[in-house]
């Protein structure tokens, strides 16, 4: 078995095995943030029940319609993305599919389907270059978008660029390989020996003369030959070529990229030709082996996801229903990191201000995907990272409406938030309100900021003027809606607003942070509205919460709270 065959089989096995592994994860979803663990049989049954296949008369046309419009014509990219996005991806999709079926799989597709197929005959020779050009065009647009557009740059990962680079290597080496074959004397001689009936030296010279003059072939010996071949020799070569070459060879000029390229590459060298051949073959086989493990898997997962969702009228009606675990698992895999969700995200400004990575939906989804395969071993750090960004989401559903891959993101966010809270990583607010006085004392110590040092600080807490007028009349407390409620446990109203104002004006803001009342305040601004001295009571309470957040964020960034983080989240 040749080395090539060994590599082909290994890569093919990796592709097949990896794909089966990914499929098995759809059917046997691991316990994770988005996909509660279920045995495969139950997962499959719930999927089938949710598909409402009973109404096959409606389901089948809808599936076919989606297949043609959104998968073959890629219409979802034009409707949910933009015209450029569609042009980019359709070029990649059409070119790649053409090369895959009519070039890479020629023995399985082209030869059986088209009698008399030869890769060097038109239209195949022309089509191969056309498909390659389509891929290159799509690749160029994609690279420009990923590297130039600000919204795209924000969400582009190394893997996206790697995938584009890999495709570029496959197509680029393909063009060079075809070009180098066109001017390879070794290939010429092998073909002549194989197909010319009993060639003698004159025949070979005539054929060389014809191919050099009329077909752009370059031989090392003819380049040295200053005097051109005689017309008779070329005519003899033409006859030989018509008889022996033409049945399998169209004139190379129809390969409109490789033919000009071949003249640049001439003369050929055997070492370079081998290098180009291995580059092309290895890049293609690497892509095959990598397919189930990286971004290219969307070639399978995204169409599956779109087809599954097409059976759910709820998403079309903008009322996403809860999803079966299988659909959630497929949805996680169907993301192509196209970035549409993140560029339209309602809380994008929060990301720009806070720089918490998992605020952006596309990043959050990839974090969730990473958590999905861990067999229940979700680390506290990963959960904390998800929780910090994920709970900033306001559930506005825009990402779900816009997702070109039709992932029911809204459902994923809702279920993941619920699961994160259950695992002890609720929203930051809930975690903060349960931190005890000793923790706040420690954090204040880590972050020693004496009050009233920043003379011109815009902060209310830092400014003595804020509280100068306070006479502790307790009107703020008496108008507070919480203090007039019957049967509120004393623990919820441990400190009153006027007491907090007093702490703050004494520079003891940190002592107010563990107060339950600070976190129970409904921010109704009754206190501030009614204060006879014009103290901005509610604004100060907000500022205290901001202070608490910044204390904990600084501590988290310094790794101070990691060890106890999980325990603290629990009420």
């Amino acid at each position: 078995m040749s080395l090539f065959a060994v590599i082909l089989w290994v890569c093919g096995a990796a592709c097949l095995g990896g794909t089966l592994w990914r499929l098995s994860r759809w059917l046997s979803p691991d316990r994770s943030l988005a996909v509660p663990g279920l045995p495969p049989s139950r997962a499959l049954v719930s999927l089938i029940r949710s598909l409402s296949l009973r109404d096959a008369r409606r389901a089948v046309p809808r599936l076919l319609f989606t297949l043609v419009r959104d998968i073959l014509l890629q219409g979802h990219l034009a409707r949910k993305g933009s015209l450029w996005r569609w042009i980019m991806h359709f070029c990649l999709f059409a070119g790649f599919s053409g090369l895959l079926f009519f070039h890479a799989l020629e023995d399985l597709v082209s030869r059986p389907l088209f009698p008399g197929y030869e890769p060097t005959l038109d239209p195949w020779q022309f089509l191969r270059d056309l498909f390659g050009v389509l891929v290159a065009l799509g690749l160029g647009i994609a690279l420009v978008r990923r590297l130039v557009l600000r919204d795209m740059r924000r969400t582009t990962r190394i893997e996206d660029l790697f995938a584009l680079g890999l495709i570029g290597l496959m197509v680029g080496s393909g063009f060079i390989l075809e070009a180098s074959k066109m001017v390879s004397p070794a290939v010429f001689n092998r073909m002549a020996v194989d197909y010319l009936p009993a060639p003698d030296e004159t025949d070979m010279a005539a054929l060389r003369a014809f191919w050099t003059n009329q077909r752009g072939m370059v031989f090392p010996e003819t380049t040295r030959d200053t005097a051109g071949p005689s017309a008779g020799l070329i005519e003899k070569g033409r006859d030989l070529s018509e008889a022996s070459c033409a049945p399998c060879h169209s004139p190379p000029r129809s390969a409109f990229v490789s033919a000009p390229l071949s003249r640049i590459l001439a003369p050929s060298s055997a070492g370079r030709d081998a290098f180009v051949w291995w580059t092309h073959v290895l890049s293609c086989l690497f892509a095959l082996a990598w397919l189930p493990f990286g971004k290219l898997f969307h070639i399978l997962s995204t169409p599956v996801g779109i087809l599954l969702q097409s059976l759910d009228p709820g998403l079309e009606a903008l009322r996403p229903r809860p999803q079966t675990p299988v659909k959630r698992a497929v949805g996680l895999d169907a993301c192509t990191n196209c970035g549409v969700c993140s560029s339209h995200c309602s809380v994008l400004p929060a990301f720009l201000a806070l720089r918490t990575p998992d605020i952006l939906p596309s990043k959050k989804l990839l974090s969730m995907r990473r958590l999905a395969g861990k067999g229940g071993k979700i680390t506290p750090a990963a959960l904390a990272a998800f929780s910090r960004g994920g709970f900033v989401c306001t559930e506005c559903m825009r990402c779900t409406v816009l997702c070109p891959s039709r992932i029911n993101l809204q459902d994923l966010w809702l279920v993941a938030k619920r699961e994160a809270a259950r695992l002890g990583y609720p929203e930051l607010y809930v975690r903060l309100r349960s931190l005890g006085p000793e923790v706040w004392k420690r954090l204040a110590g880590e972050n020693r900021r004496p009050a009233r040092t920043l003379a011109r600080s815009p902060s209310l807490l830092d400014n003595p003027e804020t509280f100068a007028a306070c006479v502790q009349c307790s009107v703020c407390t008496s108008v507070c809606p919480l203090f007039r409620l019957p049967d509120v446990p004393a623990v919820d109203l441990d400190v009153s607003p006027h007491q907090i104002m007093n702490l703050a004006r004494m520079g003891l803001a940190d002592m107010a942070l563990p107060a339950n009342f600070l976190w129970n305040c409904v921010t109704c601004y009754a206190c501030q509205e009614h204060c006879p001295r014009g103290i901005r009571v509610a604004d100060v309470l907000y500022e205290l919460r901001n202070l608490a957040h910044s204390r904990v964020e600084a501590a988290d960034a310094a790794g101070l709270l990691d060890d106890a983080g999980a325990a603290w989240g629990r009420p």
Binding site: P36, V45, S46, R49, S50, R150, G314, L318, R319, P320, R321, P322, T324, H344, S346, V347, L348, P349, A350, L352, A353, L354, V392, T394, E395, C396, M397, R398, V401, Q410, D411, L414, L428, Y429, V430, R433, P458, P481, L482, L485, D487, V488, P489, D492, W519, N520, V522, T523, C524, Y525, A526, Q528, E529, R536, A538, Y542, R545, N546, H549, S550
Partner: protein, 291 residues
């Protein structure tokens, strides 16, 4: 100046009816707000980071300003926070500088004069109540309504400049124009409890409960809201999408809030019913005098 529709994040999924019905009512009055893509107003972030929440608000206002529009929102928290951000940006040059620096790369610029309007103001003040009366074809005669004001539009009044913070009338004026009978009730200006939902459910539900009791003591048939968050909290609209279906085998999460003992309707529902756009639900119709 034309309005741009700023529904707020909670409308599309959590309370789509309020958004749809508000636009329908506005259409009857000849108001067609521009539909732009807005970011979050920033209100939910105010606990965490003032600067992040103000940046979010400023970005929304800049998006409206670029289209030459003012902002029109049905949510009092969006309204209150957008006004709050305008006040904060006017008072704090360092915040303004940070916002300008963050918006510049996006080709946006913050305009301090972008008008921020709440739905109630447009209904009761902008075209004037005469326009409402003219549009009413099925007056809500005899319907006793408790107008729930919500906090963030009213207070802090020097920032929001919405209505008299101690004795507002805008909501009652509108209800009267619709033919309903607004009732006087003691807790009409108090908090609905939503800010504590999911954070301290016991207190959140106690606040909601006290409002129901107060409205019923005033013999209100319906409570009316004009805020997405208040309606979510008091109206308890069951989301079909959050009820796990049979195959899910997930535990149904019982809501910590009591079921509302009286119907709670967003103002758009009542206004649209009075304008003949849709019938009022059975339980919201005035009790027949015979009973």
């Amino acid at each position: 100046m034309t309005h741009a529709w700023f529904p707020g994040c909670r409308i599309p999924y959590h309370l789509p009816d309020y958004g749809r019905e508000s636009l329908a009512v506005l259409e009857v009055l000849g108001i067609a707000p521009a539909l732009l893509e807005f970011p979050c107003c920033g209100y939910p972030l105010r606990h965490q980071s003032l600067s992040a929440s103000v940046l979010s608000a400023a970005r929304g206002l800049a998006v409206a300003a670029r289209a030459g529009c003012g902002v029109l929102t049905p949510c009092k928290c969006c309204f209150g926070h957008l006004r709050f951000a305008q006040a904060a940006l006017a008072a704090r040059p360092e915040l303004r500088a940070a916002v300008d620096a963050a918006l510049a790369p996006e080709g946006l610029s913050y305009d301090p004069d972008t008008p921020v309007t709440h739905l109630l103001t447009v209904l009761a003040r902008d075209p004037g109540l005469a326009a409402i009366r003219a549009a009413v074809v099925r007056p809500l005669s005899g319907l006793r309504v408790a107008a729930h004001y919500g906090c963030h539009a009213l207070r802090p009044s020097d920032v929001t400049r919405f209505d008299d913070p101690r004795s507002p009338t805008i909501f009652e004026d509108l209800l009267t124009a619709l033919g309903a009978t607004p009732v006087s009730w003691s807790l009409r200006l108090e908090c609905c409890g939503q800010p504590l939902a999911g954070k301290n459910d016991r207190l959140a539900s106690a606040l909601a409960h006290s409002k129901y009791v107060s409205a019923m003591e005033a013999r209100a048939r319906v409570m009316a809201t004009a805020c997405t968050y208040c309606q979510m909290q008091l109206g308890r609209t069951g989301l079909a999408c959050e009820t796990p279906p049979a195959w899910a085998r997930e535990p149904v999460r019982a809501s910590p809030l009591p079921a509302p003992p009286l119907p709670v309707a967003a103002v758009s529902r009542l206004a649209g019913a009075a304008m003949g756009l849709w019938p009022l639900e059975e339980d919201m119709r005035p009790a027949s005098p015979g009973r």
